[in-house]
């Protein structure tokens, strides 16, 4: 599963590094309980600003894109929930 976490300036200011740290931790959590999840690998990538924040007046940072689907105002818990739901058996 391709998970891209934007680390552009606005997203970094509002916590994208924390989301990256939590995703590292998520890999551990899944490993501890491996039989309940598929063995799909989580490919987490830090990416440059894709301009989501620049296209709109609204506040969208931080932005996380999971399998091509963007999540705005992403929080660690919402991102992790989405991922876990996708790989739960």
């Amino acid at each position: 599963m391709k998970i891209k976490v934007c680390v552009g300036s606005s997203c970094t200011l509002l916590g994208s590094m924390n989301i990256l740290d939590q995703l590292d931790d998520l890999k551990e959590i899944i490993k501890e309980d491996a039989e309940n999840y598929t063995d799909e690998e989580l490919e987490v990538e830090a990416i440059k600003c894709l301009g989501f924040c620049k296209d709109t007046e609204e506040k969208v940072a931080p932005v996380v894109v999971i399998e091509g689907e963007p999540m705005y105002n992403a929080t660690g818990q919402a991102v992790m929930e989405k991922i876990i739901n996708r790989i739960r058996k």
């Binding site: 680390v7 970094t12 200011l13 509002l14 916590g15 590094m17 740290d21 830090a46 440059k48």
Partner: protein, 501 residues
């Protein structure tokens, strides 16, 4: 702030970005009266009892970030009250540095043991039996602890088979390594200025974000716009702070895009401090002084000054790396106005000192710098760079991590005088620093070089950081290894005189 305190961190940083933007755009400061509505739009409260309280707290943060004092709710002031005094291009910071926003404080009770509703009124009730002051009894619904009798030993908590008894510790007071947090007449946190060393730990631990420091970003940006001799010096813990895609060279270039004419690693100053402290130790210990404390952590030195005044003479006379780096630049450009960028809040106070204020003119944290990058729309990972940064040795870069200073001084002293071996001891967290000083005062650390760091893990854990401890530590170690030289004695930028034995 602790990384998991996401909502608090975001408020804090949005304020930095807002103030930075207003400064770069030369905005009319009257806009501050409405700024809280931009940061918190709508009418529904997200995390406090009302949107009005949320905005009122943001307004105090805006004031503190402008360098003004927080307002008291007992008097009427506009948000911009006193603003003309700080609408200048020089540093107007006056103490107090660390402020409790009184109406943001939830007056958390002080340390106590409580019985939660996990209690099942079991037949054994060992809690009542183990209490040394007979303070525990069984009430209607659960066991009860008589707080007047309780001596807070914790035996009841330890014995409960349902873990129903908890120790309740007020986060800010528990975080304070010098017991400087007291209560005002409404039970709200109050900082005892005689004890406070401005380490900023209470700021990051308060779960309500009720404590904040003052900023200098507004005045700094005005100075960047009007002054051509602005230099930035950046602390060794800067690695990894601005995102995993921003290389050190890109960070330096990004800082220049903010209006600085040059950026220098404070690790260079660390190399100079290492050389001076090594020579000072070899010369003075043990015949002139019994032991020596390092002088780079400002909160550590203030703590020694306030709590162990008779030991203060044993703190090294060497200037901190921040000051040494600034002096190096001043020598090359006497008109230089220098800004220290680091993880540290305490350095804002160090820069006020008589012997420092002509060298270091502004102090900002990495968080505040990030606010400036966002305000100016700078994307570090997009910047094209070609140069490598090589201002300092590996030992100098190691200052960022607890133990790094001691290691640098020890290894350098060993090179200067191989016949002597320096004993070193380093501690981090202010609590442990106090304990170490007690031992030193009792004569138990004679012959030692003592490294005291107020933040747990060293400067990489400072209150002004953006990235987690582990992330930064990894990045610092990587950068250390990229240094062209290992020891300050090999650093060709430093005066040959100083590098000689």
């Amino acid at each position: 702030m602790k990384e998991s305190y996401v909502d608090l961190i975001n408020i804090r940083r949005q304020v930095f970005a807002k103030i930075a933007k207003m400064a770069y755009e030369g905005a009319d400061l009257e806009e501050l009266e409405k700024a809280s509505f931009e940061i918190l739009p709508g009418e529904v409260a997200t995390y406090r009892d009302s949107i009005f309280r949320e905005r009122a707290i943001v307004e105090e943060r805006l004031r503190l970030t402008m360098g003004l004092n927080a307002r008291k709710p007992t008097e009427y002031y506009r948000v911009t009250d006193g603003i003309s005094e700080v609408d200048v291009d020089e540093n107007r910071f006056i103490e107090p540095l660390i402020n409790v926003i009184t109406f943001a404080c939830e007056a958390c009770p002080e340390k106590a043991f409580y019985v939660t509703d996990n209690c099942r009124k079991c037949l054994a009730h060992p809690c009542t039996n183990v209490c040394p002051t007979n303070a525990v009894s069984i009430g209607k619904k659960r066991a009860i602890i008589d707080q007047e009798k309780c001596i807070k030993c914790g035996r009841c908590r330890d014995t409960c088979p349902y873990s129903a008894i908890v120790k309740y510790d007020r986060p800010c007071a528990a975080a304070c390594g010098v017991n400087a947090i007291e209560s005002d007449y409404l039970g709200r946190a109050k900082i005892n200025r005689d004890r406070c060393v401005s380490c900023g730990n209470c700021i990051i631990q308060c779960p309500y974000g009720a404590i904040s420091d003052k900023s200098q970003i507004y005045q700094l940006i005005k100075s960047l716009k009007s002054n051509e001799h602005m230099y930035a010096i950046i602390a060794p813990s800067f690695l990894g702070q601005f995102g995993p895609l921003a290389s050190p060279a890109q960070i330096f270039e990004g800082i220049k895009q903010l209006g600085f004419v040059d950026v220098v690693e404070v690790s260079l100053g660390a190399d100079i401090t290492t050389l001076k402290e090594a020579k000072e130790f070899l010369e003075k210990v043990p015949h002139e002084i019994p032991y020596m404390g390092t002088s780079c952590c400002n909160s550590w030195t203030i703590m020694v000054e306030k709590l162990f005044p008779d030991q203060y003479q044993y703190i090294s006379d060497s200037a901190s790396p921040m000051v040494e780096t600034a002096k190096y630049i001043k020598k090359k450009d006497p008109k230089a106005k220098i800004t220290f960028i680091g993880p540290c809040i305490s350095k804002k106070l160090e820069a006020l000192r008589e012997d420092v204020k002509d060298y270091v003119h502004f102090v900002i944290t990495f968080e505040e710098l990030m606010g400036m990058f966002v305000a100016k729309g700078i994307e570090l990972s997009e910047i094209e760079v070609s140069d490598e940064i090589q201002d300092a040795s590996a030992l100098g870069r190691g200052y960022a991590i607890a133990g790094g200073v001691a290691e640098a001084v020890k290894k350098t002293a060993a090179e200067i005088d191989p016949s002597r071996e320096i004993k070193v001891e380093g501690v981090s967290t202010l609590q442990d620093c106090v304990k170490l000083m007690r031992l030193a005062k009792a004569g138990k650390k004679n012959g030692y070089l003592l490294e005291g760091m107020a933040c747990a893990g060293g400067c990489i854990a400072g209150p002004g950081t953006l990235a987690s401890l582990n992330r930064v530590r990894k990045a610092v170690l990587e950068f250390k290894n990229k240094s062209a030289c290992n020891s300050p004695l090999e650093n060709e930028i430093i005066d040959r005189e100083l590098r000689r034995n």
